[in-house]
Structure formats: C-alpha cells, structure tokens
C-alpha cells in the first residue's frame, strides 16, 4: 500500500500547468523506488507543545516528500504531553498545561491514522532513563533523588534503576504504549544519561557495590536498559535506541536498530562503521539536525551527506536502513516549525529516496526551488 501511495505521489508531481491555467500531464513511464526503507522525520513535542494541526500538516508535507516514518519524540525533560490512561497523573502534573498542552488518546489515534493513510509509520519515543524530569511530578518515586552530602538536595535525576517499583511502572506504561502505537518498533531513547545524580545517592552507591559494578555507572545504565529491553521484547515489540546504548556496551538483541546522532567525539562515519560491524542495523541522523540553523543555503550540506560513506563491507552497508531529519524543539513551536523544516528537510528526503548517483547540486537546486513552489501552491 505504501508503495502505491508513493507512486501516486510521484504521479501528482508530474502534473504541470500551461499558460492558460490548464492542468496537464505528459504520457510518462514511471520507474521509481526508494533507496532506503526508513526515511524519517523527528518532531519534538516536549520542548514545545505542537498543536495537532501542526503535526497533521507536517505529515502532509512529509508524504509529499516521500518520508515514511514519523519519529514522535513525544515526551522529555521539559514536559509530558502524552495523556496516559494507566497513569493520568503523568500529563496532569507533567504537561505544560494539563488541559491545553496534551495529546489525548483520541489525538494520538488521529495522528496514527492520518499518518497511515499517507503511508507513514508512527514510531513513538519514550526516552529513558535520562530525559525524564517531567515524568517525576506525576510518578513520585520514579526518579532518583539527588543528594548533597547526606541529605536529598530536592532535585531529581534519571529514572531510579534500583527499585522494583521502577520496573513495575515501566512495564505498565509500556504495556499501554505498545497497545496504543501499532508499529512494531518503539524508540526507547537511552541517550545522554547524566550519572552525577546516581553517584550522589547513597542507596545507589550501595547497590553498585552489591552488584559488583565498582565505579562504572555505565554498568548500572546497562542494568536498567537491559531490563527495559526485556520488558519491551516480552510485549512483542522491536526497539530503536540512541547510540549511547551501543557505545556503553549494553547487551541488546541482534535486531536492535541503533540511531546514530552524535558528531563527536567519534565522527559519525566511524560510528556507523562500528555499529554495522557489530552486526546491528543503523539509522543516521547526526548530519541532519535541522534545528541547528545557520545563515545561507544549508540544505546543500544536508544534501551532500552520503550515508554509506564509511569504511565497511557490503554486508555492513546493507545494515544501514536509512535515516532521519531531526527538528528538536528547544527553539521551535508552531510559529516557526514549517519554515524551519521545509524545504530543507526535502534535501534529506531526496538523499534517502534517490539513487546515490543523484548528487548534482545545481540540478537539485532547480528541482528544489520548483518543489518549494509546488508545496506553497
């Protein structure tokens, strides 16, 4: 069905208009197919809430650009807009505004169905154990209390990996999430876990000793993530994780997809090589952080990225299943989402769809300029 939709998309873009305003289409044979199967766009609805219409509009334009995955980074530190049936307090306490800045179950279904009709999968990301500050107010006891010497400082850190209640919570939440989001894959995050708070907490330090982890908090992170992955597996889902999970040597299933996003300290090309060499499939986002704006025609840099440009065998290269353009929300809301995203994301879309030989910048410029007019018209 998705292939059929993409075909219709190609067809619609062949329609031209003559001087008299008549629509016409030349007799054409279309031979077209995507280079990579995973062509995604990430939206972040936690740093700034995005109203439903902004998401739906984005899905329309994604379809026009032949993106087929909507990576919904739905919650994070600043806010928790996802209205959970199992844990309604999460959004009641964690959303920017419990009435106006949430996604109800109905909203979520609307997004999923709207996407489906456009050949777009919705992969939801519930990032843990870091990036979870907004989970705290609605789930007391979930986050690690940080300590200043002997006493709690009043602030909180990542999810507390040493409590059984944590894993009960996570099981229940992901039971719901697995049912709500029909895609086989869930994105579980796992990035940027700050160990400072864990290190400050005496109970955690005691646990580290007990488990023989020494001072290596990566082992504690690993401990959490492994249990999380087992929970998700038992729910019949596959998972995508950010690269730190791989970098920190967490034991993951062979069919895990590793999402490469960092440009340093390891250059992303090297990371892609390492990930695929270890036998995992990889998604590339590192050179496609479209939230990082700069003056001038930066679409060109995005366009010129070659995802398979790294040292590796052809088996390794075959493990690169695609990539995602990311629009993180620190400085993005509905007032500037569309002009910031388009048509720059179009450069990424072409890179993921078209043949590796389609690289000429001048030609791309002409087609991109024309495409932009079509988008606006």
């Amino acid at each position: 069905m998705c292939g059929f939709l993409a075909g219709l998309e190609t067809f619609s873009q062949l329609v031209g208009r003559d001087e008299n305003g008549m629509y016409y289409i030349n007799n054409t044979e279309i031979v077209d197919f995507p280079r990579f199967p995973h062509r995604g766009l990430l939206l972040d609805t936690s740093r700034h809430y995005l109203p439903l219409r902004a998401i739906l509009e984005t899905l329309d334009v994604m379809a026009y650009n032949k993106f087929n995955v909507f990576h919904w980074h739905i919650v994070d530190d600043p806010s928790f807009p996802y209205e959970s049936l199992t844990f309604p307090e999460l959004s009641k306490q964690g959303a920017f505004h419990a009435m106006t800045h949430i996604y109800t179950a109905s909203d979520v279904q609307t997004v999923i169905e709207y996407a489906r009709l456009r050949g777009i999968r919705v992969v939801a990301e519930f990032d843990t154990p870091g990036h979870t500050l907004s989970w705290g107010p609605g789930a007391p006891g979930l986050l690690t209390p940080c300590y200043l010497g002997k006493d709690p400082s009043g602030t909180y850190g990542p999810i507390n990996p040493i409590l059984n209640s944590t894993y009960q919570f996570v099981t229940s939440l992901f039971q719901e999430v697995s049912a709500v989001f029909p895609d086989f894959f869930l994105h579980l995050g796992g990035d940027e876990v700050d160990f400072t708070c864990w290190k400050s907490n005496p109970n955690i330090r005691a646990f580290m000793k007990e488990m023989g982890f020494g001072e290596d908090y990566k082992k504690l992170e690993s401990f959490y993530i492994q249990r999380l992955l087992d929970i998700i597996s038992s729910l019949g889902k596959g998972y995508i994780v950010w690269q730190e999970v791989f970098d920190n040597a967490v034991k993951v299933r062979p069919d895990t997809i590793i999402h490469v996003w960092k440009e340093n300290p390891t250059p992303y090309t090297e990371e892609m090589a390492n990930v695929t060499k270890a036998g995992y499939r990889a998604l590339l986002s590192a050179p496609w952080y479209l939230n990082r704006i700069s003056y001038g025609q930066d679409w060109m840099a995005a366009y010129q990225v070659e995802p398979l440009k790294f040292e590796g065998s052809s088996e390794q290269k075959a493990r690169v299943i695609g990539g995602e353009a990311c629009m993180w929300g620190e400085y993005v809301d509905v007032t500037n989402l569309a002009p910031r995203l388009w048509p720059r994301a179009g450069a990424v879309a072409e890179r993921l769809w078209s043949n590796a030989t389609v690289r000429d910048l001048q030609d791309a410029y002409t087609r991109l300029a024309d495409f932009r007019c079509k988008l606006l018209g």
Partner: protein, 410 residues
C-alpha cells in the same frame, strides 16, 4: 481607575526639527502602546490595569527596521503585519529597501517601464496605491517610512526598464553584454535621476530619503573606454572613488533641491564624498564599527547603527542576547559626538526571507533591538530581559492571533 500619562515630550537634541515630522502622533502613540501592555488578565478572565503612573520616553530618536522587498517580494499584508509588530515594539522608522539588483517592484508613474521590465512579475509590484497604504498605515502607528533607492550600485534591475542607465562593461574593445553600476558620465543619467527623484520626493512625505551608495564595484567602470576617457578629462587619475564621489554629489544635490535630507550607507562617507551637514550616515560594516562611529561622528555627521543588528544572519540558539548586549555609545568620542548617534536599525535583508518566514525570523529577535534603542542605558540585565521578552512574545502572539481572527484569516 486613574491613569497618569506623564510623557516627556522630548526630542533628541542636536537635530534639525525637520527630522521629526508629525510630532503629536509620534509621541502620543507609543504612550498608548505602553498603556496597552499594562493590561493583564485576572483568574476570571477579566482584563484590568492597575493604577499606574507612566514615565517613559525613548533613549534614541531613530528606532528602525529595514525590510528588503527586492531580493524577495513581500506582499502588502506582510508589510502591514510587520508594521503592527513594529508599533508594538515601539519602532518608529520603516526603512524600506524597496528596489535592488534582483527586482524593481516600485511602480513609478514617470517611468512605468522600470517595474514593467524590472519586477519579478506584474504580480510582484507596489502600485502607487499600495505605497500610499503603507505610508498611511505606518503613520497611524507612529512610524515614518524612509524609502531607499540605492544607487549607483545595486541597480541591475533598473537597467531592464531604463535603457542606457547602467554602464556597459567591456572586455577589451567590445561590450560583454553585461552591465555595471549606474553610468556616471552621461547627462541622460542625471536627467533621469532628476525626474525620478522628483517623483520619489512627492510620493514619500518623510523629510529623509535613503540614497544607498554602498558596495559600488568599480570593475565595470574600469573596463569601459568612455568612462576611462572621462576619468582622464576630470583629472581623477585612476581613483574611481572620485568618480563615485562625483556621481553621488550630483544625486545629493538633486535630492536636496527637492527639499529632502538624505541618508547614505557608510561607504559614501568613507570615500570622502562631500556631504551636507544634515546627512545621516548608516554604519553597517561589522568589522570595527565602533571605530567607524567615531569617525563619522567625529567629522560632525549624524549616525545610525545597523552593523551588529543584521537579523538576517541567523544562527542556532538565543542570539537575541547578543543583539541586546550591544551598547551603541560604546565608541571613543566626546559627549558631543555621542549625541550625534541618533539611533539604529535592525535589518532583515531578503536573500533568504519571504512572506513564509519573515515574521518568525524577525520577531521577537528584533524586540531585543527595540528595547536597546528605547530603554535607558542601564537596562541591561539579560535574565530580567528574558522574562519580559517571553511574556512580550506571548502578548504579540495573542494580538496577532486576534487580528487574524478579526480579519477572517484564522
């Protein structure tokens, strides 16, 4: 509710009174703006204003926004929406960089071919009615409209509708087919400019016209044998800045004869063109602009600052902070010199800007510049500014949303 509106009706000293037309409107309007921003909502949805005494006045007299309608055409609606935003931020000058190399959207009555041949299309023009609308819309918001007709460089689009205006470039003995800046050696050039600026002077009521004068590339002039001949005759040697000077002086005289004052970009001053004392020099080159401000004001000219406020230069993160942190008077100079810096402009050049992204790119970043130009020198705390800027942004969005509803757009 008792409200005191004590507004010091003060002008920036040291300026000709011609600089401040429509005095009443310009002082009353910002007061209303301040008043409107005191309105807040209580928990029950009622709007109220606390009893307040307002004591507020601008630090600088010239608080401008530059819009570029040549690199990309901006529909009228965009310009008008922007004027609303400007008023909300107490900007009082719209510097309308209306034409340039890429397109000539200004529909001239005397020279209709300029836009007929020079605009992107017949849908990408500003008719006399459009222009009058902008001027009046601005006036009602306490905003002056200063048009810029930039010459002799930045004029490629003029050549399409005005034959023989631009200098033909040469390769050896033969014309290459391409053109350079306005041709400074022909009488027809000055006949044209005389008539053209007669129209401009009557269309735009402000006392000032911006005449540009920036980035004049001498290569084409140097290649043209007639121009070379002229240089010899005039005794300019190989100093093409002298030729530029010769041209600009004649334009300044033309414009002055229509009772207008003029603004110019800094090159005109840098290249030692003879300027009338009331000329306003706009400092735009970022490199060592403090030094330039010293030079300009040291020579006795009035200056406005744009160099650190090119808002078209986007970058990741909270760049409003660097705009806010600029202190315009941070340049070596006497008290007298400092008084000659009458304000500044946030510029949004149009190479990568059109109606689809103008508003989010300009606002609320330009608000940081707006405060810098209005508020007292000691209002510099970034944390405090951040708090006020975020609620100011919400106010702006609320207003925009309401306006959209009222005009039937939302």
């Amino acid at each position: 509710m008792v409200l005191f509106l004590t507004k010091t009706l003060r002008t920036s000293t040291g300026l000709s009174s011609r600089y401040l037309p429509w005095v009443f409107g310009f002082f009353f309007f910002p007061g209303l703006e301040t008043f409107s921003q005191l309105v807040h909502e209580d928990d029950y949805g009622s709007f109220l204003v606390n009893e307040t005494e307002i004591n507020d006045f601008p630090r600088f007299a010239h608080r401008g926004i530059l819009l570029d309608t040549s690199r990309h055409y901006l529909p009228l609606k965009s310009i008008l929406t922007n004027l609303d935003a400007m008023a909300f931020n107490k900007f009082n000058v719209l510097h309308w960089h209306i034409v340039d190399d890429q397109s000539f959207p200004y529909q001239s009555v005397y020279f209709p071919e300029l836009s007929d041949k020079g605009a992107y299309s017949c849908n990408h023009i500003y008719t006399p009615t459009d222009v009058r609308l902008v001027i009046e819309y601005a006036r009602l918001r306490g905003i002056r409209v200063i048009p810029e007709f930039d010459t002799p460089g930045h004029t490629q689009s003029w050549g399409k509708g005005q034959k023989d205006l631009l200098t033909p470039c040469y390769s050896g003995e033969r014309p290459t087919g391409s053109f350079g800046p306005v041709n400074p050696i022909l009488n027809t050039t000055y006949d044209f400019m005389t008539k053209f600026f007669k129209e401009i002077s009557s269309v735009f009521p402000d006392a000032y016209i911006h005449l540009g004068g920036d980035e004049v590339n001498f290569d084409c002039w140097k290649s043209n044998p007639e121009v070379k001949e002229f240089m010899k005759k005039q005794g300019f040697g190989t100093d093409y800045a002298k030729l530029e000077s010769y041209y600009i002086q004649k334009i300044l005289d033309i414009v002055f004869s229509y009772n207008k004052e003029y603004m110019v970009w800094q090159e005109v001053f840098d290249n030692k063109v003879q300027l009338k004392p009331d000329t306003v020099v706009q400092v735009w080159m970022e490199n060592n602009y403090a030094h330039e401000l010293s030079s300009v004001t040291g020579a006795g000219f009035t200056a406005i600052l744009a160099a650190p406020w090119y808002l078209d230069y986007i970058s990741y993160g909270q760049d409003w902070k660097k705009y806010y942190s600029v202190e315009p008077l941070n340049f070596p100079g006497t008290e007298k010199q400092k008084k000659l810096l009458i304000g500044g402009e946030a510029c949004l050049w149009g190479e990568f800007v059109d109606a689809t992204n103008l508003t989010p790119r300009l606002w609320p970043r330009a608000s940081a510049v707006g405060e810098r130009l209005w508020s007292s020198r000691n209002v510099t705390n970034l944390q405090d500014a951040y708090k006020r800027l975020t609620s100011h942004r919400c106010r702006m969005l609320r207003c925009e949303h309401e306006q959209a509803i009222l005009s039937g757009i939302a």
